[in-house]
């Protein structure tokens, strides 16, 4: 199990990296933390002929406060750094709580925030989290830059709206609106293993106990982040009582997901988990929204 040969470049600036990506196109892969790409290369599921290592590009490693009260994360910021950063804990508590659920310390020490999003593994936490938080993704190429909202970024299994010559350089996380709560839950067979099903949920109340918006974005249950749109409609404008939450959970499990069976769990069990996680996540998010 050894990777196929490749040419290796270790640029120190984004411009230099973009030049390599533009020159080599589909033959090149950008190497971030490598915790997903290198296993694929070891299995030879991925055989890029050119590897552009981003680990020496200092300008991609940062966590900064944004003017809107949110956060700006450089794409190469290590998951371990995000996990332990006090500004993240203060401004994006859902991200803070989700980070330790991602694999193991040995993975998070190398794995990067932007790398996980760009890799678009349907079982990964950060793609779903970025959709739930309305993250905006700053994409650069030699011809300029564009911003893609997270909910338009994930096109399917390991597929994103980025072109081969483009690079994700920054993730902007806006703050949650006033009177909002959140919840991030997953069920895995072993702690920190890939989730059988997970959910990132946010609830915004109108200040009078009515639900302005309730969103649930599931992962590990489709070919990308799966938003429970019909469950959200059940709660819109309603008082989020235990009964209303139960009904939304039923709808999420019945209408919003289409799970498949694999070696880890049956479709039926995954649907059951969606129902259970929906109830727990919405309850927790409502409780936090009431306290917010």
């Amino acid at each position: 199990m050894k990777p196929a040969p490749f040419k290796y470049y270790a640029p120190t600036t984004v411009n230099e990296a973009l030049a390599y990506l533009a020159k080599h196109g589909y033959d090149a892969k950008a190497l971030a933390g490598g915790q997903s790409l290198v296993p694929m290369m070891n299995f030879r599921l991925a055989q890029p002929s050119v590897l552009v290592d981003l680990n020496n590009i200092a300008e991609l490693f940062y966590i900064r406060p944004a003017k809107d009260g949110g956060l700006l994360l450089g794409a190469m910021t290590r998951e371990a750094q995000v996990e332990h950063d006090p500004l993240v804990a203060e401004r994006a508590p859902m991200v803070h709580e989700a980070m330790p659920k991602i694999a193991y310390p040995q993975i998070r020490s190398r794995g990067t925030f932007g790398g996980s999003i760009a890799h678009a593994d349907p079982a990964a936490e950060l793609p779903a989290l970025s959709v739930a938080l309305n993250a905006r993704l700053r994409i650069r190429s030699q011809s300029g830059e564009r911003w893609i909202p997270a909910n338009e970024f994930f096109l399917g299994f390991f597929t994103t709206a980025m072109e081969p010559h483009e690079l994700l350089v920054e993730v902007a996380l806006p703050p949650l609106p006033a009177h909002s709560g959140w919840s991030f839950l997953e069920v895995a067979r072993r702690h920190h293993d890939f989730a059988l099903v997970g959910v990132a949920a946010t609830v915004t109340l109108d200040g009078k106990e009515h639900c302005q918006q309730a969103r649930m974005v599931f992962f590990s249950i489709g070919d990308g982040p799966v938003e429970a749109r019909q469950a959200a409609e059940v709660l819109r404008g309603q008082t989020p009582t235990a009964e209303a939450i139960l009904e939304a959970a039923e709808v999420a499990a019945r209408d919003d997901v289409d799970p498949s069976t694999d070696i880890n769990a049956s479709a039926e069990y995954r649907r059951h988990l969606v129902r259970v996680l929906s109830r727990r996540a919405l309850s927790e998010a409502v409780e936090r929204a009431r306290g917010a």
């Binding site: 050894k2 990777p3 040969p5 490749f6 290796y8 270790a10 070891n42 299995f43 310390p105 040995q106």
Partner: protein, 158 residues
């Protein structure tokens, strides 16, 4: 075969200069080029934890890095912990509690635990089990390993 690149990696305090192919995994570099076979190779896709080393002081999977990426950086392997005559306190605790069993997973577990115990000098059993959740042992139910970690933590605080 692609071009060779010249790298210098500091391993256990000693700088090593070598010419390597870019595709050479750090785990294979340590074992084959440097002869440091204490770092074990199990799954080679980041799941089993046997190849865990410290990369600039942080635990990392050496099978998920290329040797070229370690150039200019510091790597600590299990050989850097202690010697047979002068065991590291964690190694001593593993020996006393029979935490090694067959020993295949042990180097990776030790390298995971060194930074863990520095950050958590008085860990609960739950924290210990969570800390080693990224390291697979196929011999036992992990009980002796957990005992060894408690023993090491107690000894360090005594």
């Amino acid at each position: 075969m692609s071009d060779l690149l010249n790298i210098t990696v500091t391993v256990n305090g000693t700088p090593y200069g070598r010419n390597v192919e870019p595709r050479l995994l750090l785990s294979d570099f340590l074992r084959h080029d440097l002869g440091l076979t204490g770092t074990h190779v199990g799954c080679e896709h980041g799941v089993c934890g046997a190849c865990t080393i410290l990369f600039d002081g942080q635990p990392a999977r050496s099978c998920l890095m290329f040797a070229v990426q370690a150039s200019g950086h510091e790597v600590t392997t299990v050989e850097g912990l202690g010697t047979p005559d002068n065991l590291h306190p964690i190694q001593q605790a593993f020996w006393e509690a029979h935490g090694a069993q067959c020993g295949f997973c042990t180097p990776g577990i030790l390298m995971t635990l060194v930074p863990f115990l520095e950050e958590n000098p008085d860990p609960s059993e739950w924290q210990i089990r969570e800390a080693i959740s990224g390291n697979l042992c196929r011999c036992t139910g992990y009980q002796h390993i957990v005992d060894a970690v408690k023993r090491a933590a107690d000894a360090a605080r005594a």
